[in-house]
Symmetry: C2
Subunit: 323 residues, 2 copies
């Protein structure tokens, strides 16, 4: 069995060894940049762990699942333009370091570099795996659209919010687990269980991200806390607060959220408001629910218990339990 | 044998019947819009003609080659952002009608909708055809990068220019012909001949486009003439003029091209300059050379002469010979 750090190293090496069209370094420099500034490699590592759960042999899966990481970084590069984000993983975003046009085009080529990796799947799995991946790629675009739409919407229900993060974040994590299982020789039923494991884990992961954006330790989290509040993003904290608030409180939160106050004041006022409604506890409970459901699906999967240890550990570390 | 209008109709129908993820009309409305405002459907029609050259059966090729048209429109949607183009085919561009973020994201989903079409290739051709397509997709991105780089470059040689239009325009046309031939059951040697036919045709087509941008009839061409000159784009006319001009003339053309004059004056002055050097005749001769080479490759292809008639006619109409 491979450990997470071993698999991360395999993916990092695979990313470094990627074949590039070298006719224009202007085009590929931002790709190399964005793939070199870190990241947990969550999706391909998860896929390889799922593969390894069913098979000792993971070699054939490495390049295809590297495509999941490239695809993910493609979405980040374009999302950062749309969200006007200037920092990612502590480094300037591509559209900031270069310009918007460069981030569009270097992002585009990454989508095809991801295809290129997927195309190296074993022929008997190619069509199946690529269709699963591609359906998810479309869903991720829909999720990003809903996320943008929600920024302008006054009211977003919790169900609508969950669906958005499911599409934008959870589906790719779910698909990574499913594809990994298929590469490991799992049948469709097993792959579906792994998909549900990944989907629930992805939902828990995104809710934790929302919690950390407001309540996280800046040093651990790697970005300034309160960013979502300043940007007026609809987060789990916000939609849950809106759900349980009285009409007066809803009006108040809406005012606080849309006011053009001093950012630090805005963050404090909204956070105080969340505290008053005990939103953090609600969010943590929801996160735990999804994490627990993920664990239930993993439990049901047909591999031996000792082949699941690394996945359980990884899922725990995504919930912040590795310290 | 199918005629061009029949095949165009088949592709138009295929585009209308495309499956959409309907969870966000905001995301897919711009896709439907851009696919509905016309276009010759050059690439898929060429692919089906190439298929039909080798086989009476084209059904299995229709959806996969529809992906070539979707991919092409994806590149147009993103290129129009980068080039700040406000009109395409006589209609407002997506980033003008909606906004830049929408054009980025609706463009992105088109790349995956194109994949989805390609994924419906017959299994025995899937990996081969998709790899050919995907290599070209990457080349098209490189071509767009070179095109953007050339706008800022003072000197662009004719060879550099030809390589740029080869990547940006000709490769996809070449690949359409190659993929079509493969769907028709052609072997690699035949498919390579069709690729070279398409590559040379694509080069001729782009040079004609450059000529028309300066010398075309606005009513026929569908966009205002002189756009390339106003935008300071490096075109075949420009690089050829720079190639044969004296040092003094080069200085003059560079001044004319970079001056912030009244656009109408700028267009007239640059056109007069081209006329003085007989650039139009040079360009038409170069276009004819490529067209002739394309015909030579088509001639070499192993199908019966009567199965090539529609392709010869289509190639002629791309050179403006259908009136």
């Amino acid at each position: 069995m491979y450990t997470q750090p071993e698999l991360k190293k395999i993916i990092d090496t695979s990313l470094v060894n990627l074949a590039y069209n070298n006719e224009s370094e202007r085009l590929t420099d931002p790709v190399k940049y964005v793939l070199s500034i870190g990241g947990k490699r969550l999706r391909p590592v998860l896929a390889l762990l799922a593969c390894n759960m069913y098979s000792d042999k993971i070699d054939e899966a490495v390049i295809p699942v590297t495509g999941l990481e490239i695809f993910h970084n493609f979405t980040l590069m374009h999302d950062d333009i749309m969200d006007k984000a200037s920092v990612r993983r502590g480094f300037p975003t591509v559209h900031t370091k270069w310009n918007v046009n460069q981030a569009i085009l270097s992002g585009d080529i990454m989508a095809f570099m991801a295809n290129d990796c997927l195309l190296q799947s074993p022929p008997h799995l190619l069509q199946k795996v690529f269709r699963i991946f591609n359906k998810t790629a479309i869903e991720v675009c829909v999720g990003q659209q809903l996320d943008m739409d929600f920024e302008k919407a006054t009211i977003v229900s919790r169900d609508e919010y969950i669906r958005m993060i499911e599409l934008k974040t959870a589906m790719l994590i779910a698909t990574s687990a499913r594809i990994g299982a298929l590469f490991g020789g799992a049948d469709d039923r097993e792959a579906d269980l792994m998909y549900e494991f990944g989907r629930n884990l992805g939902l828990a992961f995104q809710i934790r991200d929302d919690i950390l954006d407001t309540y996280g330790d800046k040093k651990v989290f790697g970005k300034t806390t309160g960013g979502d509040i300043i940007a007026g993003k609809k987060t789990f904290l916000y939609v849950k607060a809106m759900e349980i608030a009285t009409a007066d409180q809803r009006k108040k939160l809406n005012e606080l959220y849309t006011a053009g106050n001093d950012p630090a004041v805005k963050v404090k006022e909204v956070t105080d408001f969340y505290d008053q409604l005990r939103i953090r506890a609600f969010a943590e409970s929801q996160m735990e629910d999804y994490h627990g459901t993920a664990m239930d699906f993993l439990e049901k999967a047909g591999a031996a218990a000792d082949r699941k240890i690394e996945l359980i550990q990884m899922a725990g570390s995504l919930m912040g339990r590795d310290h």
